[in-house]
Subunit: 357 residues, 4 copies
């Protein structure tokens, strides 16, 4: 299934070396003013070659909207879009046709489908996330007009981690450095670490924190589709993600209930909480506090160094990829995390409209 | 939405103090022999009052199957089932009608629906997981006949944690103690900690590890419905869950790619891997290795001690719940984690049947 | 799939001779006052034994609601319900275990599932429509408060047909006779025909017309889920239905466009139309005029006379069913048609809430 | 919702005067050899300007596949496609911006969305069916390799009707004349009638019959998604369709059960039936006999003559459309009916794969 969402739905298509990446956004309410430049801006934050610590591949990633927007407004009909791929030298990948790259999707795809487009990873390429960034950028514009903001940032790269909580950071500084970490000092250490890993032909993982402000109480669902379950599902569907936690997360499991409970208070006539270990979600439904969560990304599997593996015929062999690849995907993953969060929230906004008389 | 799954689907209903908890399992293939006693066994592992460290509420939780099984076999038609609730003294909850318990769903429900069944938490009660355990027990029987086993265990309670990996543990020992930790020495420490917290009217969280063996390569989906995304979604939908990680998880983000990659090898004529940081899933699709993941549970929010809060009219007040509640849900959550994993895997088993000619 | 609807959803379970028929209504908005007696009233209109022209089987068909309603109002959580079956002498059906009844589902079920509950038709029994009537009765109450009425009636039985259009009939008279035809004179002819067929151990088909008043303009969907496509889907899913038409229907295909087009007029400040060949739906979306459609039911396949057939082993044989069966299902199908229409409309009401900013 | 199907799914986008019409086919099994020329052939059967009785608009309607096909085979990943629109003189439609064309979707769209792309009907244009023809052409190729054939033909135009049943016709002759009626004599009368209506600036409706051969017993679903209910839903979602019947249809309601029942026989070792009033479907599941059904199309609403109507401000006005329009859509609708039937059957083929162990 290549469709995400229940009412606000994104269906995506496309492979790394095919004609392009595209999708259909269905269920976006009519009458929403769309700023296409903002969509392109998020694509630019995702695209390769944007800084010295990302891959130097040259891809312009320009989006063309094909339907659903008329005189700058959504019409309620599906929004089709397409981002053409550049011409690739797919022959560069010929040597990968029958060999399984370690920790890639090559072997598991092969077992599932009996056939695969081996060029650039085919459908398993993170290039697919272009569709999500476009879908998310539309969802963001829907949320923005309700005063909802979504800000993600790089919280750790390898063992270098921001020591402050998001409340202590100025999230408007995230785009001030190329690693997208709002803590300038930590950002510099991260950049140095990435450059070092790159020069060693090695790769790094890390974590991204995402903060959503302005969600009113009442969005979400009590049982399977708890708001955080949908957010976790969205994040775990991003390439290279290995974990998700919200609010107090894994650390919170070590606390006593008497420490962990968020006491309700009357804050100027509104229900608020003294602490926010709940991460803005209680019983699967937003409670009006900030929603925040953390996403774990593994070190990228494509190393520019020799590794052992086997081929389709089960012979042992080695691969030694060439080309231009990211030593660390975290900076480029920031807009993807935001996009997926926006898709989930736009969907729950619409779902919530049907929950009461 | 109270439906879980795409082809193998569970729809659940029921509140804590209503007539009962039940559900409909749809899409289970015809011809599967069902052992109803095994279903009841998993319900017994979940039910309250089963040991001195769980709540002493007396609920028999006996399942009645209403359809879909004929002469002990599934017929391909929907399997309806019902577990009646015991008669509750709902009046015990009258004092909670207009007050929001800290870190419960009371406030967020109220904001969403404008109405709520306050008795025993209503739909937000973990009693709803009865439906999941029944659904999962049917899914397990489907998977068993393919040689797939699912074993969860308590990995940590508060700050007490099993130090061994699952490979070093004997998972057949999980049911040997009341805390469901296969490491006997750690189990005893956990039990002592839970008893201490209980006597302090406090509560504890912890983590559960789940191990799935025998899944063939090829189950899963490349994009949104990656196998681990569906597993994470399933786990995050369980009451009190705050995080999910699979394979190397959050710790893996600190490794270099050259350490983290799982090298493919030829193991007796089959493709295998030297390490399993991938947790048995690559590109969202199983690769034939063990699938393992960890789930974080917060300390339960119901404390048997006085806490401050506000009521509907925004007046500050205090609550001081009485009754019988678990100081730690982890032991009873083990079969729920297994059940949700089984539902996801049964669904992907069926989805996979349609992926090739 | 045993689920109907997108937002307002009914999932049903149950077999003719199992424990009972039930279902789950999910997505009903919170805060709707439910009159359970009205639900039972529609069940009574559907149940056997209600008049001398229906089967004399004695089934009380009393509904028990299990969840989702609290203090007479919906809570937004799923509404589970169950109608217990009477104890059946299933042994009466033993002779049908290995034989395929003509124009029943016996053979096709057998080929699909390799197993079937042969007792009373199992899942293929029209007894399953109990779940639809309950779901529809809840949907009706949602629609009623918006002033929407749904009235179906028997338009023809065999070759006896009402000659008037629905506009010429007084639809409040439908329940005045046992055949549920608001034209008293035609009703008498229908009853005579049914009694004659019954005495010949034969059966009759016919058509039901359904009229929906009060739907505001704007409900529906432009492409696949056109309002009439969802209505048609709903009707064709009822047992024994062979055809569906709305507005001018099949007869309209013989008209010229210049005759068929419905001219828009200003009617007291509202957009209205001079004629209503469109049946209240244009481009798949309601236009505020009456919605009306017709449903064709084949003569029921269960004859109380000897018929040739084959058994599982492909031997030629005969069957000669005994027992109590309807010679004509039309009168009892009236509430089923209304229920399915209500389910579709309640769903589109909720869908429409998300279509604009 | 702009998605059709459960496992084999088509999502479509596009407006009449936007950039183009396209879609995504998801769930097509991997390994299917695709002949793109056959897809184009069906598009050519649908396109305007193909004969003297269709609109003379010049649209090449060339499909570009964007993903999901690699080395001429499906890969199991989504198949994106796009058919660019020709540049339109949208200014021709400026006079329709604020006026509601009779029996079009103008008014109902306006009420639903509060905004509409008025150019050429926008999303309500039958140009959207391009996406269905492409999706259906892929589905056809999946079915073809199982020996399943789908043949639709024009059965009536206005009052001119084929008097023979499909069994008496040679369906290989359908493409031999421009009206797509396999009965040459009737075809000539239909063509004359269409030419006469065209010269009068009037339009005609009619019926299409569709015959599916080779479906094995066992496809379908017992309750809501009966095979004929899904077929009816598919057909009623086609622009201008007003009715659907299968097998004996509306005429069958006039028969006695003893005439209507299809007696099972042993035909050379296979279960067959003496008659086929069931239209190849019993209890919602195919029984191995021919599936056949009939679809009613209203006369097209766009007349090239003056008609009264109202505008947005509720003023009475007249419209007098210019341009090139079909006097009768039936010939061009034949491939659309086939395409929708193919989508339904491909989906049920895949669904059936999961119904048994």
């Amino acid at each position: 299934m290549n469709t995400f969402g229940t009412i606000f739905r994104l269906t995506s298509f496309g492979e790394s070396h095919g004609a392009g990446i595209g999708g259909i956004i269905d269920g976006c309410p009519a009458g929403l003013r769309i700023d296409i430049e903002k969509v392109q801006l998020d694509l630019n934050r995702r695209k390769p070659g944007q800084s010295r610590i990302t891959t130097q591949r040259d891809e312009s990633d320009t989006v063309e909207f094909l339907s659903g927007i008329f005189e700058e407004k959504t019409t309620g009909t599906p929004i089709g879009f397409l981002v053409r791929n550049k011409d690739h030298k797919s022959s560069d990948y010929n040597n990968l046709k029958d060999v399984f790259r370690p920790s890639h999707a090559d072997y598991s795809y092969n077992q599932k489908y009996g056939i695969r487009d081996h060029r650039g990873g085919g459908r398993s390429s993170a290039r697919e996330t272009i569709a999500r960034v476009v879908g998310g950028a539309i969802a963001k514009q829907l949320l923005e007009q309700m005063g909802i903001t979504i800000n993600a940032y790089v919280n750790s790269v390898g063992t270098i981690s921001v020591e402050k909580s998001y409340q202590e950071l100025d999230l408007t500084k995230t785009e001030d450095n190329i690693v997208r970490c709002p803590d300038q000092e930590t950002a510099e250490k991260m950049i140095a670490l990435i450059e070092e890993a790159g020069s060693n032909h090695d790769t790094l993982g890390g974590t991204i924190t995402c903060v959503v402000k302005g969600v009113p109480p009442g969005w979400g669902s009590p049982v399977f589709n708890k708001l955080h379950a949908d957010l976790g599902f969205a994040m775990l569907g991003i390439n290279a993600v290995k974990g998700f936690e919200y609010g107090s997360g894994f650390e919170g499991t070590k606390m006593y209930g008497s420490e962990h409970n968020d006491i309700f208070i009357n804050k100027g006539g509104d229900v608020s909480t003294l602490t926010n270990h709940s991460g803005g979600i209680q019983g699967g439904i937003s409670n009006g506090q900030d929603i925040y969560f953390k996403v774990a990304f593994k070190p990228i599997a494509t190393l520019l160094k020799e590794q052992k593996t086997v081929d389709k015929a089960l012979n042992e062999t080695t691969i030694n990829p060439k080309g231009r690849h990211d030593p660390c995907v975290l900076p480029r993953a920031v807009p993807i995390v935001e996009a997926m969060a926006a898709l989930v929230l736009a969907d729950h906004y619409l779902q919530d409209k049907t929950s009461r008389l």
